[in-house]
């Protein structure tokens, strides 16, 4: 069936602020959908409250509404536009729920808007646990024995019937919120109460737990003609019982026989065909009993999801893009494979590599949180790695995590005792895979580990290969390490640094030189959807080591620039940098350069195969970057757009003699190094809070006496105010310093005088060497003491005096000139009693740059990139700030995912996302409430 031409204008609903369980994968899917619909000549209207998204950029849609995701907003949009259809399957659970709510209120009908992609009945069948169960039973598809309870008493009764262990699953919640396992009677009451209150309809499913079964996910596409294709099969490394968002996952399935796979495939297809009106991408989850290979259906999600974003990156198949076209009425056989361009979109991708996804957790930010993994998702981001074996992919994934792992293993950290570790492994925690490796290192058997973890033994055997190789490496020194062994280790994904740490000899650079001389170099392979069966031209690459030395990444003779991404999302560094990278890439292309992207976060738009000229899906880890540099010989590298992750690599890039585009390494180092920065401020005559540095408690007490309490204590080089504390006396200071040194031994500690009760503000600006441009001045509603990322920031300043604002701008310009900034700079200020202090400067894109770009409707990232490159001056652009009233950047938290965690805010950032809200003036009731309650959540 061809395109339904009666659909001329489509409304896409976004997923709102980033929260645990719903992250920037929906920016990816929404952006793809918008582009895909516009390709077919359909007008796209978009609603999302998240300003850090690409999808809300003016270039993505015909009209963008940065409004709260409420029925009122929807109605306003429908009134102002002639919309034919709404596509609710691209914005996660939030969009589906909003579409449902609007349906219940009769809004779609009132404005004569059709739902495309899915109908409400299908949503309900899939989302309502009881309806899903009944539907499965009706279709003769096995499910776990379960009963739906609407009251506490019912729940208790059913639990008795079903027996332990069991699962409590609340209906209509996101990311498994409120769900949990109940192993015994004494845990039941609490679990039931939590589940019932988490469900918006006060309903939970009491279900038999199939602990230890294997878990699989199928990503499918279905069109209106009932054609179905399985795009990707994902196997969970972790057995049933851990939310898939918190599971390490692998594709293609590693331990699945064809008979078991076809059973799943057939079941999934019959479910999809029976679902009702549905055209698009869908996810079906199964549990497999390893003894009988029988399966039960766990759930179906009739929308694109985190898993489909991962599946898209894992296979190269753009699921959201195709799903959007299917919603318009196209059938799969009418569309082309977007990678090969010659073969059909109706096919099932074949992989000739392995991908491993590892979630990224931030438990260090949520003191008091239960870090046991279960039904409720707790991770804040994820990394994906591609390799030509599981061992290679898993070690690359570890290198991507940016948690100091140099591969699979803790090096230089103390190990637990053997009995202790086996006990520890029984409970799934974020570090379990690392502990499994430790256990194998100690000689604990594969069998014992399988019994403790219920993880499929094949994976443990693979980890044991890594362990055996590590033990072999440990016998040598750099000079004696045999080349065969080195080659084998590299093939298994060991990093150069990891090998040196194992040998306790040599350094990364020495080892690199050794293997380079021996010809042990990375080759780059293409992700082509078809296992090389057909020729593909898509420039989407990953690295591996192959004896053939056959490299598919052909280097062009164009001038080229590499953009470094920001790695996995975590608190303090998220989607905003994906936004920055995408604009950076596009600007580079506009300037006639080849734009090359390096990143390992599958939830991003910047890693879409058609954003950059060339994509290396690789860890943002020095060794990997270095080999890309050696191959591509770029004319420069942009580190300003990828947050602290990218910036951190600038020293090594500088040492290698590769130009850093924009501000020089040395000047960035001044901004980053507290001592050098303060010296500069002193020379410039700019006030800053008194500060000192210390390496131990005694020095710290001395410094505190000097700078005066209250003081802010923090380690140098941190992200999002990690482990930052405000203390008011020597005792507290001692505790804080001891705790810091315990976690970060040897780290330099910074002690600043804390400007109590001052006002905080920040400026984002651009400097081109001559001209200085203030992008925006933001004033925080909350007083100092709350991390800027957790503050409500108002653009422009609303309460500061004109003199204060002018002083800030004056200081900002002075700093920019002194640092000889080329491109972006963000400066944070404290204002107390009319005096302006500079707290810090970040010589890069900040969290607020996308917010300002959206609020003023100016393509600031595009401009900044061109200025970094030196191809344009600020005077080449006109800046027309279109903002009536004020824009507020509101932090959004995910505390409901971490029961027991204090909601107090402080210098350490805790928010996971943000929303934008426009107000006409300061009489706005929302603003007045915020302002009134500005000190309420302050911890101290």
């Amino acid at each position: 069936m061809p395109q339904d031409k009666s659909i001329k204008t489509v409304l896409i609903i976004g997923s709102g602020p980033i929260i645990v369980g719903q992250a920037c994968e929906f920016d990816y899917s929404g952006s793809q959908a918008a582009r895909s619909l516009r390709e077919e000549g359909v007008s796209v209207i978009l609603i999302n409250s998240n300003p850090a998204t690409i999808m809300t950029d003016p270039m993505m849609a015909d009209r963008v509404y940065l409004l709260p995701l409420t029925v009122e907003s929807i109605e306003k949009i429908l009134e102002e536009n002639n919309i034919d259809a709404v596509l609710p399957t691209m914005g996660g659970q939030t969009a589906l729920n909003l579409a449902k709510e609007a349906e219940e209120l009769g809004i779609w009908e009132k404005y004569n808007v059709r739902l495309i992609g899915v109908d409400i009945k299908a949503i309900e069948k899939a989302e309502d646990r009881e309806k899903f169960r009944q539907w499965m039973i009706q279709m003769n598809i096995p499910v776990a024995p379960a009963k739906t309870a609407n009251s506490f008493l019912e729940g208790k009764e059913f639990a008795q019937d079903i027996g332990f262990p069991l699962v409590i699953r609340p209906s209509f919640t996101l990311g498994g919120t409120g769900g949990g396992f109940v192993h015994s009677k004494d845990q039941l009451d609490e679990a039931l109460n939590r589940g019932l209150s988490a469900s918006p309809i006060h309903e939970v499913l009491v279900e038999k737990a199939v602990l230890g079964w294997k878990e699989f996910e199928l990503e499918l596409l279905r069109d209106s003609n009932d054609n179905v294709a399985i795009i990707c099969t994902v196997e969970n490394f972790d057995p049933m019982g851990i939310h898939t968002g918190d599971s390490i996952t692998v594709a293609p399935a590693m331990t699945l026989s064809d008979t078991a796979f076809q059973l799943m495939r057939n079941t999934a297809i019959s479910m999809m065909r029976n679902l009702g009106n549905f055209a698009g991408g869908c996810n079906v989850q199964f549990a497999l009993n390893p003894e009988t290979e029988g399966i039960i259906a766990i759930e179906i999600n009739p929308r694109v999801s985190r898993s489909s974003a991962l599946a898209s990156k894992a296979t190269g198949y753009p699921i959201a893009k195709i799903a959007a076209k299917l919603a318009l009425g196209f059938t799969l056989d009418e569309l082309k494979n977007q990678i090969t361009k010659t073969t059909s979109a109706y096919f099932e991708p074949a992989l000739d590599y392995v991908i491993v996804k590892i979630p990224r957790w931030n438990f260090d930010k949520f003191k008091g949180a239960n870090d046991t993994l279960g039904l409720q998702m707790k991770s804040v981001g994820e990394v994906m790695a591609i390799g030509r074996s599981f061992t290679e992919a898993v070690q690359k994934a570890c290198q991507s995590l940016e948690n100091n792992a140099v591969g699979l293993g803790y090096y230089g950290k103390s190990l637990m005792h053997a009995d202790e570790i086996v006990e520890y492994l029984k409970t799934p925690k974020w570090d379990r895979i690392f502990r499994i490796k430790d256990a194998l290192m100690m000689g604990i058997s594969v069998k014992t580990i399988v019994q403790a973890t219920l993880i499929d033994r094949w994976f443990i055997y693979e980890i044991k290969k890594i362990v055996d190789t590590e033990k072999e490496i440990a016998k040598y020194k750099l000079a004696t390490l045999p080349l065969d062994l080195l080659r084998k280790a590299k093939t298994m994904g060991f990093s150069d640094e990891q090998i040196c740490r194992i040998m306790q000899n040599g350094d990364e650079e020495d080892l690199y030189q050794k293997r380079k001389a021996a010809g042990i170099r990375r080759v780059y392979k293409m992700v082509d959807t078809c296992s090389a069966e057909f020729e593909a031209k898509t420039p989407y690459f990953y690295s591996s080591f192959e004896s053939s030395g056959y490299n598919e990444s052909k280097v062009s003779d164009k001038k080229k620039i590499i953009v470094l991404g920001s790695g996995p999302n975590r608190i303090g560094q998220g989607i905003e940098f994906d936004y920055c990278c995408v604009h950076g890439l596009l600007a580079i292309r506009e300037e006639g350069y080849e734009a090359i992207m390096v990143n390992c976060n599958p939830e991003t738009v910047s890693t879409d195969f058609d954003i950059a000229d060339k994509l290396y899906f690789e860890p943002v880890f020095w060794e990997h970057l270095r080999e890309i540099i050696d191959l591509e010989k770029p004319d420069g590298i942009i580190v300003q757009l990828g947050g602290q992750t990218a910036l951190k690599l600038s020293a090594k890039i500088h040492e290698l003699g590769i130009p850093i585009i924009g501000t020089s390494y040395d000047n960035m180092d001044i901004a980053e190094d507290r001592g050098r920065f303060s010296d500069m401020l002193k020379d410039l005559g700019i006030p800053y809070p008194k500060y000192g540095t210390a390496y131990n408690v005694d020095d710290a007490v001395e410094v505190a006496k000097e700078v005066q309490y209250p003081v802010l204590v923090r380690p140098s080089y941190v992200l999002g105010g990690q482990r930052m504390r405000i203390v008011i006396n020597d005792d507290e200071l001692e505790k804080a310093v001891v705790s810091l040194l315990k976690h970060l031994p040897g780290n330099k500690i910074l002690i600043d005088h804390f400007l109590d009760r001052c006002q905080e503000a920040e400026i984002d600006a651009i400097f081109d060497g001559e001209n200085f441009h203030v992008m925006g001045v933001m004033e925080h509603i909350e007083p100092a003491g709350i991390h800027s990322g957790d503050s409500n920031a108002v653009l422009p300043a609303f309460n500061l005096t004109p003199l204060e604002v002018t002083t800030m701008e004056y200081y900002a310009e002075k700093i920019a000139r002194s640092l000889n900034i080329r491109g972006l700079i963000n400066i944070q200020f404290a204002v107390k009693n009319g005096q302006v202090f500079v707290i810090e400067a970040n010589p890069r894109a900040s969290r607020t740059t996308p917010f300002i770009a959206k609020a003023y409707q100016i393509p600031y990232l595009n401009i900044a990139t061109k200025i970094m490159m030196g191809t344009h001056k600020i005077t080449d652009f006109t800046f027309e700030k279109k903002l009536e009233g004020f824009a507020i950047k509101e932090p959004v938290f995910s505390f409901d995912k971490f029961p027991g965690v204090s909601k107090e805010l402080g210098p350490e950032m805790k928010s996971t996302g943000e929303a934008i809200r426009f107000i006409k003036d300061l009489r706005d009731p929302y603003f007045r409430t915020l302002y009134k309650e500005r000190s309420m959540h302050l911890s101290k």
Binding site: T255, L351, V354, S531
Partner: protein, 366 residues
């Protein structure tokens, strides 16, 4: 990878002179045949035992093979039919509770020489560009010159008749002897599951050796004939083409799969040709142009029917086309209850999307 720490070196040489070095797996020895690749990500054992692969040295594009061991039920014939195996990571350790053996032991017992740690992706890209060719693998010797001499004497697949080598020696039966539906199967290398698919639908199946005289078939008085898949060049099988011609005269339902499809075409005067590098995998998109529905199919063929000749033939109608390259995937004979598909609807391994063809065949006999 075998448990012994020192894995033997092995070498793979292509007829065009390219040499790849890897490690030994399976039996230690030397083997040769035509190189081909399979893109499937599940069902390696079914592939290895598929008689259509007789004479082929197989590259598995999927990077891990052997992860779930081998199991008696997952065979498509009683022995491994591939001549040799090439992989990136061939796994000795496996995890399936229902498995009987490891891939390493299985290949050793079945005398199959394999090589791993090969850049299979580079190799596949090479075959994709240069086309199918003969190759030799050895884990006994790395004397390239000697192996090249051996390789030169391996016959080309073009014009090679292999079906009679893998066909059954004796007639055998499957299914309910009392069934009202009787199917005579011509075994040119039939896969176990094809017969099973027929028997599962209530047919009483009699399987015949490749060179069974037509009169013996007629004696069985079947309600329909099935022309099986199999290895080798269909053009080198005039005996089988004659058989199909004779059977068509009976006007009884006739169904052909893969080689059977090519034989049906030849019997109708449509020539076949050797493809550049064949279709082998579990993800080939086919459209049924009669119903408009699409199906993901299992494929394994190195020869095809001439599309021009099919389009120009007055007797033949196209029923299925490949969505990737528009090649012909299914035909039916005008005025006769005879049809065939190039792909494998029994699909072991692979998607079950096309099993309806067996229902269609059985339906024609009711």
């Amino acid at each position: 990878m075998p448990a012994t720490t020192e894995q033997r070196n092995a070498v793979l040489i292509l007829a065009d002179g390219n040499v790849f070095y890897g490690k030994a797996f399976g039996k230690i020895g030397t083997t040769s045949g035509e190189i081909c690749f399979n893109t499937g990500m599940t069902g390696y054992q079914e592939v290895f035992t598929d008689p259509s692969y007789f004479g082929q040295v197989l590259i598995m594009n999927n990077v891990h093979t052997g992860n779930y061991g081998v199991k008696k039920d997952d065979r498509e014939s009683d022995s491994v039919k591939i001549r040799g195996l090439i992989g990136r990571n061939l796994e000795e350790k496996y995890s399936r509770m229902m498995a009987d053996d490891s891939l390493q032991d299985y290949l050793e017992k079945q005398n199959v020489v394999a090589i791993e740690e090969i850049d299979t992706r580079a190799l596949v890209a090479h075959i994709r560009t240069k086309g199918a060719m003969n190759c030799i693998i050895s884990s006994e010797t790395t004397d390239v010159e000697d192996l090249k001499r051996q390789l030169a004497s391996v016959p080309s697949m073009d014009g090679l008749e292999l079906a009679s080598s893998v066909s059954t020696d004796e007639v055998y039966h499957l299914g309910d002897p009392e069934s009202p539906i009787r199917v005579a199967v011509m075994d040119y290398g039939v896969k176990k599951n094809i017969i099973q698919c027929l028997a599962d639908r209530g047919a009483y199946v009699r399987v015949h050796p490749a060179k069974t005289p037509v009169k013996d078939l007629l004696e069985f008085n079947p309600d329909g004939y099935f022309i099986s898949n199999g290895p080798g060049d269909p053009a080198a099988m005039p005996y089988a083409v004659e058989t199909v011609k004779e059977l068509l005269k009976t006007d009884k339902p006739l169904f052909g799969i893969c080689l059977g499809h090519q034989l049906l075409a030849l019997a109708n005067g449509i020539p076949t040709f050797k493809m550049h590098h064949g279709h082998r995998g579990l993800n080939h998109p086919v459209k049924n142009i009669v119903t408009g529905y699409c199906e993901i199919t299992t494929q394994n063929h190195g020869f095809g029917v001439d599309p021009e000749a099919v389009r120009n033939s007055p007797n033949v109608e196209i029923t299925h086309v490949n969505l990737n390259d528009e090649s012909i995937e299914g035909i039916r004979i005008k005025g006769k209850p005879a049809f065939s598909v190039q792909y494998h609807p029994e699909s072991t391994p692979g998607p079950h999307d096309s099993r309806y063809l067996f229902d269609q065949f059985i339906g024609m006999m009711k």
